[in-house]
Symmetry: C2
Subunit: 397 residues, 2 copies
């Protein structure tokens, strides 16, 4: 059976790694309020809303959760690692949750402790949540922002994480294949995207079986255009769509899949109908820039080196002013996460880092050109995780 | 033509309302970093990432934007209200964006000003962004957290906003109707959800025409189950799905649509096959609680009154321990926003507030029962915006 989630053992190892860091920094415990980080440390995923929730990882002893009653049953269903579950009925409640957070930490013996946290205010504070900072309610404790510990842990992926990302790439590939098959002049991009997404999701579920469940929502895998159709392909993250696909359009796609909370990123530039010479020229520069960045991706090189390698090609072709973003970003539990493949980022590449490589060139009013692939930095170079064809012939509708 | 977006005039009025409040508080300008709030004040919507972006609304004079180059073309495309656009290539960049933010504000003459903001750190800080707080880079300026101004403005909706929410409800209704039609034993909830979503989205786009575009992503409207199938209907926000729908299941659905960035919420409890007496009993208590809450929703009553009215019915039926959340929440640009219909919330209801009414009862291991409707508080009571049938017969598959 393919690996579809992180093992309990790996979660235990993560907790131990965090604890080693707590010892070094003389912190008594770590308080996590970010939903993704709670998932990373425990395997418990929830929809983050105005209702504050937090996971406490003590220096030793059992993990403890405090959050809305709504989440208590999920938590028990999803993880055995959290032994103590404390809840409040809802936000704002007759007693503000932050007061209950302070009582929870005091009852656990942390009223005068030094506690690391990702958020000294004690609550994620989305959707209009308001409340006093937790520090005000625990005046003798010292809350120290230390989420760099979590980011450092997440920066290089374990063999289990890499397996999930590789599995994700397979289903992104299927969704993209269907997207390409269903693309034709006269169709709306939203219709094509939903049709491909629906069919690929159904196949993915039937293939992987009932033990596979998407972490959030009902989209197991998906593919689409995000509005990057025709001249709007020149606006990355374009979002909106105003007319159907037509002959001669440049399309920039995107596909991915959720496996155990992990993602991959696959994007392609497609041309509807025979490409013009002008389209071919831009496409080739983009491909050459991506090739150069891929060649530069290896341990010991810096993140900046990869970005500079791609830019060198684009600048040489005379398209410096058509660059709208850097060459890539880390990917894992989130669609974007460190490390940033950016000319200003001196961080050195290490085996286990996972990144997108996606230099793009965008001629406003005409078209944009970008492929994105997901790659793992390996001991002696890199591994291309996404494997959808990149050549123009394969990508011509 | 139906209203599909907020008018330029209304955006101008919002800016003027904000400015009046700035004067009262003796603030020279207002700095917004939250993506939804930038949209609310200007009509410019973007995907929030690690790249910081901000809108400056001066006490008088033109609006100014600072953000990643990636967004500059979108901004010009989406709004005429922002006259000055400043950009940086990407994050982290050779110069950290926060230094450029400080320079931007200094160049505008605010180096020693008192500036209201939704975020004194100067950046939304998602996806692993790190950087020093803006206050450190503008030591002589005073940044004052004042996002309560924006929340107060958003708390009651204008006639234009109400029109968009009413239009949203229509398309949520269609998506839900198709969801119900396509639901049958043996089908996966994800397949049914995507099929209904795809078809309703295609119809919605064809009906409203090319001038309609969804604000984010490609889903114009959608319907689904969020994993609330069978015994998992007892876990609100359950997310994951592990088996197909079967005879005897209780299902809790959800549907909505994006019209000009505004949402509505429609949720129904459906039964697959003839309901049992036990199912009927829970369903009736839930309906009675929803009716009581709707009756209590009127200007002058408090948010707590509405929650208490629903709870009274549920407690009387002996199901106090089956309550997992309060009766409802505000809705508008976000799926959840103030006001909270919560027993601990003394806020008084006012005409123009828009809320969900959704008391639920959840018997773990058995099933959950919840309808959610969107309502507007009016001068003399309320208006039911969602109009999908609520009775058991209509909701039996």
């Amino acid at each position: 059976m393919p690996r579809l989630s992180i093992s309990v053992n790996e979660y235990r190892n993560r907790v131990e790694r965090l604890r080693e860091e707590l010892k070094k920094r003389e912190l008594d415990a770590f308080l996590i309020t970010n939903g993704v980080s709670i998932f990373y440390m425990s395997g418990f995923y929830h929809m983050v809303t105005e209702r504050p929730a937090a996971l406490l990882i003590p220096g030793d002893g059992d993990l403890s959760f405090m959050g809305p009653l709504l989440e208590a049953d999920h938590l028990k269903h999803q993880t055995q690692l959290v032994k103590h579950i404390h809840t409040y009925l809802d936000y704002p409640g007759t007693t503000h949750p932050i007061d209950l957070f302070a009582k929870w930490l005091s009852d656990l013996g942390y009223a005068k402790s030094k506690i690391g946290t990702d958020n000294t205010s004690g609550a994620s504070a989305t959707m209009g949540y308001t409340g006093p900072p937790l520090t005000e309610k625990l005046p003798e404790a010292k809350l120290v922002k230390a989420d760099d510990i979590l980011w450092e842990m997440r920066l290089t992926k374990s063999p289990e994480e890499l397996d999930l990302i590789r599995e994700s790439a397979k289903w992104g590939n299927l969704a993209h294949q269907l997207l390409q098959e269903y693309t034709s002049p006269g169709r709306w991009d939203a219709d094509v995207a939903l049709e491909a997404t629906m069919e690929a999701t159904a196949i993915m579920k039937k293939t992987l079986g009932p033990q596979y469940t998407p972490t959030a929502g009902t989209r197991c895998c998906s593919a689409g255009f995000r509005g990057q159709v025709g001249s709007k392909s020149a606006m990355p993250h374009s979002i909106a769509i105003e007319r159907p696909i037509k002959q001669g359009d440049v399309l920039v796609t995107g596909a991915g899949a959720d496996v155990g909370g992990y993602n991959s990123e696959l994007e392609r530039t497609m041309i509807v109908g025979p490409p013009t010479d002008r389209q071919k020229q831009y496409f080739e520069v983009m491909m050459e820039a991506q090739d150069a960045a891929i060649s530069a991706l290896k341990p010991g090189a810096s993140c900046a080196d990869v970005d500079i390698a791609a830019n060198k090609i684009i600048h040489k072709a005379g398209h410096k002013e058509l660059v709208r973003h850097h060459t890539g970003h880390g990917i894992g539990l989130q669609g974007h996460e460190p490390p940033w493949l950016d000319q200003g980022n001196p961080v050195l590449l290490k085996p286990g880092m996972v990144v997108s490589i996606e230099p793009g060139i965008y001629r406003l009013g005409y078209a944009g050109f970008r492929h994105s692939d997901t790659l793992i930095v390996t001991a002696d170079g890199n591994e291309l995780v996404t494997y959808y064809p990149r050549d123009l012939e394969s990508l011509t509708i």
